[in-house]
């Protein structure tokens, strides 16, 4: 066995790290292009209504302005596009912050100044806008389906009967706020509509008409959307996105600026048009994690075995597109219970559309469920790890199918041992000066969905093997891990393999989403490597090439695949200020085979860091009149900084899951964030006896909880 045979799973530095630490990796905005133009969008200042007029005279008069784009002069689209992207089509506004015009000029300063001169007049609609979230609103409706696939209403057994007759029962109302992804790289794009390519260009399917350098989770999304909108074949739209400065879901599907920038380029052929959204523009029009209101009730018998899981979700829905997170999903699969009920209700509002954000559904739902489990453990006086162990389901409760693998119990027990989980019988007994100390635990889960096959191509050239596919590295480590997978499958050292990803000039691949990249793309790479060796042997000729697709084991539909984990938190809560400090976080994960410990650890630690940030700080506040976010920058919307993150460590089971395909790897991009807020909230209870059911756990919420809990903090805890 050569060294290469163990390449998979080896600790490797990121291959793109040297470029990134020196700042030389080119992100979307940074590719060198001759004489570019700069686009600045103009956003609506009302939530709904008709545009009665746009006065762009002053903007057009500014020297250096090349174009003011409005619904009056925007190019017509060949096909209707997805509703989110249907901007500059009609003189109407659907949410505050929708793009209603754009200015293109020869400098950023000029474009920004001219954009400030564009005057838009609106006629208010007879009523509305509807922007206030209100569970009692008469327009609230039950949902039949969530994300088109999950049941909106689902009941098994006599939930109410079990709840009424249970030995133990807890019920709580939980709330999670709007969160914004806030990748540090703003949504950016450069579009170049190629100047007249001659009369034959339109009929030549491979003539590139539009090149875009874009920041996305997969080049296939902007390629498909733009080709459809402009009546081009996909082969005529080239998308180049080698490096992406973070995403977390927001760059999964194109947002309106992509359409507007391509439209501007269409009108300015031969000139590269650049856009980088400002931070406030990102808060307005690039999606977010929608708020939820949840009710969870649990019933258990004398031994702590669940008899009922009841999970109601209420959420807003944008009238533009019906995005609802599958928040109650975990309540169908996480624990064994003879009766279960999930129910979703939604209120349609005139607000910008939500979208997937790191672990959509699981993040919000597991906050409620795992807090409720802690409440049940406290109610029973049972160890919270033991309570969870007693409710481990042998098969997936939702589908009845066997687990492909499930190591939740190991995550809980090993994690508790490594972390040193010690909770207090009576909360509030540990203190250091003004700080009350506590520990908490919560489980994590994330489904492993098939997103369809990807293709990978392996070519031998210049003494090296090049693996190419449309895969995307948004910070995950795909550049490195795909090369490692190929090296192992080809049985060569990693330095003989080079990945080429992030371009449409490569075989089709699914986007980096749903934690599917490593096992989905990885399977295609293994298949391609095996086919390559079968066709070309171990001494291939220059230029030898082979392509293959993702292959999952036969019968994969008969099992349920999920990644799992357990989080442990130690917090300190100030009884003076109400501030919560997370002193330690530890996560133990069941992520199948770990392909590269260094990048895997970073992904999991990164998810936990974002979970800590969501637990303590993050909340986008909507203006009650217009529905837009008012704290729309990184001063108003605090994300965890260095000083907030003290000690985060992870471990894992590391057992390959044969149902995940050739890699045996589960997706780990999302499971790391799931359950972190619950673990922290449960630790706050251990520290203080306060049960916080609304994120984020700000000092105000802690102090208010203390106030409403009766006696002063000092009296409670001494």
């Amino acid at each position: 066995m050569s060294d290469a045979a163990t390449e998979q799973g080896r600790d490797r530095a990121r291959v793109d790290a040297p470029l990134k630490v020196s700042g030389l990796a080119p992100y979307a905005y940074e590719h060198e292009l001759e004489d570019p133009l700069f686009l600045v969008p103009v956003l609506s200042t009302v939530a709904t209504g008709a545009i009665t007029g746009i006065d762009a005279e002053a903007a057009r008069a500014v020297p250096g302005v090349a174009l003011v784009l409005t619904h009056e002069n925007a190019p017509r689209l060949a096909l209707p596009t997805i509703p989110t992207l249907a901007v500059l089509r009609k003189p109407r506004v659907r949410y505050r912050g929708e793009i209603v015009a754009a200015v293109v000029a020869d400098s950023l300063e000029t474009a920004r100044y001219a954009a400030s001169l564009v005057r838009v007049d609106y006629a208010a609609p007879p009523s509305g806008p509807d922007v206030r979230l209100d569970p009692e609103d008469p327009g609230v409706r039950p949902l039949r389906r969530v994300m088109g696939v999950y049941p909106g209403q689902h009941t098994v057994g006599d939930v109410d009967g079990e709840l009424a007759g249970a030995a133990y029962r807890v019920e709580g109302h939980y709330a999670t706020p709007v969160n914004h992804h806030n990748p540090i790289e703003p949504h950016s794009m450069v579009a170049l509509w190629h100047a007249d390519l001659g009369p034959l260009a339109t009929v030549q399917p491979r003539s590139t008409r539009l090149t875009v350098w874009d920041s996305n989770q997969g080049v296939v999304a902007p390629q498909g959307v733009l080709a459809g909108a402009f009546g081009l074949l996909p082969t005529q739209v080239e998308v180049i996105s080698p490096y992406v400065g973070g995403s977390f879901g927001t760059k999964g599907m194109p947002h309106p600026h992509v359409m507007v920038t391509a439209m501007a380029a269409r009108k300015l052929p031969g000139r590269a048009v650049k856009v980088a959204l400002t931070r406030p523009q990102m808060f307005a029009g690039t999606g977010y994690r929608p708020e939820t209101r949840q009710r969870v009730a649990l019933a258990a018998d004398e031994q702590g075995r669940l008899r009922a899981v009841d999970h109601e979700v209420f959420a807003p829905v944008s009238r533009v597109i019906p995005w609802v997170d599958p928040t109650a999903g975990p309540s169908l699969s996480m624990y064994a219970s003879p009766t279960r009920r999930v129910s979703y209700r939604a209120q349609h509002l005139d607000i910008g559309p939500g979208t997937f954000m790191r672990a959509p559904g699981e993040y919000t739902g597991m906050f409620a469920l795992e807090t409720a489990m802690d409440e049940l453990a406290r109610e029973m006086g049972m160890d919270p790890v033991e309570l969870r162990l007693r409710n481990e389901p042998e098969a997936d409760p939702e589908s009845g199918r066997p687990w492909s693998s499930r190591h939740v119990a190991t995550c809980l027990t090993e994690g508790a041992r490594i972390f040193g989980l010690e909770q207090q019988q009576q909360p509030g007994g540990r203190r250091e000066g003004e700080w009350l100390l506590g520990m908490g635990v919560a489980s994590a889960s994330f489904p492993q969905m098939g997103m369809g096959p990807s293709l990978a191509r392996i070519t031998f050239t210049g003494g090296r093997y090049v693996v190419s596919m449309q895969a995307s590295d948004i910070g995950t480590g795909a550049w490195t891990v795909l090369a490692q997978i190929a090296a192992q499958a080809l049985d060569v050292p990693q330095d003989q393999v080079e990945a080429r990803i992030g371009t449409t000039d490569a075989p089709y691949a699914i986007i980096a989403g749903g934690s599917t990249g490593t096992f989905g793309w990885g399977s295609a790479v293994v298949e391609a490597a095996q086919a390559f060796r079968a066709e070309h042997g171990s001494d291939p000729a220059e230029g030898a090439t082979t392509r293959a697709r993702t292959r999952m084991p036969q019968g994969v539909r008969g099992v349920r695949r999920m990644a799992f984990g357990a989080h442990f938190a130690e917090v300190a809560v100030s009884e003076v200020s109400g501030e919560v400090r997370v002193r330690r976080l530890y996560g133990h994960f069941d992520g199948g085979r770990i392909m590269n410990p260094r990048t895997a650890r970073s992904q999991l630690v990164g998810g936990m860091t974002m979970g800590l940030s969501g637990a303590l700080f993050e909340e986008s506040y909507r203006d009650p009149r217009f529905g837009h976010v008012v704290n729309a920058d990184l001063a108003g919307y605090h994300v965890a900084a260095h000083a907030d993150v003290v000690d985060i460590e992870v471990g894992w089971v590391g057992e390959p899951d044969p149902w995940m395909g050739a890699t045996g790897a589960k997706g780990i991009g999302e499971v790391g964030i799931v359950g972190v807020p619950a673990a922290i909230g449960n630790a706050i209870f251990d520290a203080t006896g306060l049960r916080l059911r609304e994120l984020p756990f700000t000092p105000v919420k802690v102090l208010e909880a203390w106030e409403s809990s009766g006696p002063a903090p000092a009296a409670t805890v001494r």
Partner: protein
């Protein structure tokens, strides 16, 4: 100052960027960040928020860290500017950059050039005895003595540089390693 296109005022400013003298004729409104990225093609400095809130645009100006999005080019005539590529390039990384690679102190890499520049200057501040919010008041007996570089000091001093991927614990480790190595070899911070 003179008036050129469109009534906007233009100026000439001389900068030394990563060792290369540059003379820039620019709109008075141009920030150092946009001068570097859009006018000089130096994209080893990143724009994350343009409001001084994220630190991605951190560069060294005459050896000190600044957020270049809040610095007007016109105010910097004669300044020496260093971005991440001025500290080291892929073929010749600085010890600090190499530590970021070794400790995986990055994921998407977009905040990274700012983190690296910030850390470089921060270590010099520590060596120069500049206290931070978490420095014990009694710890500084001599103003020219280096502050003891605890992890808490690193985190406090690096808090102007946000990392949304959550590489903080690895960044702190990379800085800690670098400081220890430099102290061990007697190298300048």
């Amino acid at each position: 100052m003179d008036h050129a296109v469109g009534g906007t005022s233009h100026l000439s400013t001389k900068l030394v960027v990563n060792g290369h003298p540059q003379e820039l004729r620019h709109d008075v409104r141009v920030t150092l960040l946009d001068a570097l990225r859009d006018h000089l093609g130096v994209t080893s400095v990143k724009k994350g928020c343009d409001h001084g809130q994220c630190g991605a645009c951190t560069v060294l100006v005459d050896g000190r860290r600044v957020v270049s999005c809040l610095s007007l080019t016109a105010s910097l005539d004669g300044a020496e500017v260093v971005t991440a590529e001025g500290l080291g390039t892929p073929d010749e990384l600085s010890d600090l950059q190499q530590a970021f690679v070794d400790r995986d102190g990055l994921q998407c890499g977009y905040c990274t050039p700012g983190q690296v520049c910030s850390a470089q200057a921060m270590l010099a501040e520590v060596a120069a005895g500049m206290p931070s919010h978490v420095t014990e008041p009694g710890a500084l007996t001599d103003p020219d003595t280096a502050v003891e570089l605890t992890d808490e000091e690193i985190r406090e001093r690096m808090s102007g540089n946000l990392c949304r991927c959550g590489a903080y614990v690895n960044i702190v480790a990379a800085i800690r390693d670098t400081a220890a190595r430099r102290a061990g070899t007697g190298a300048q911070p």
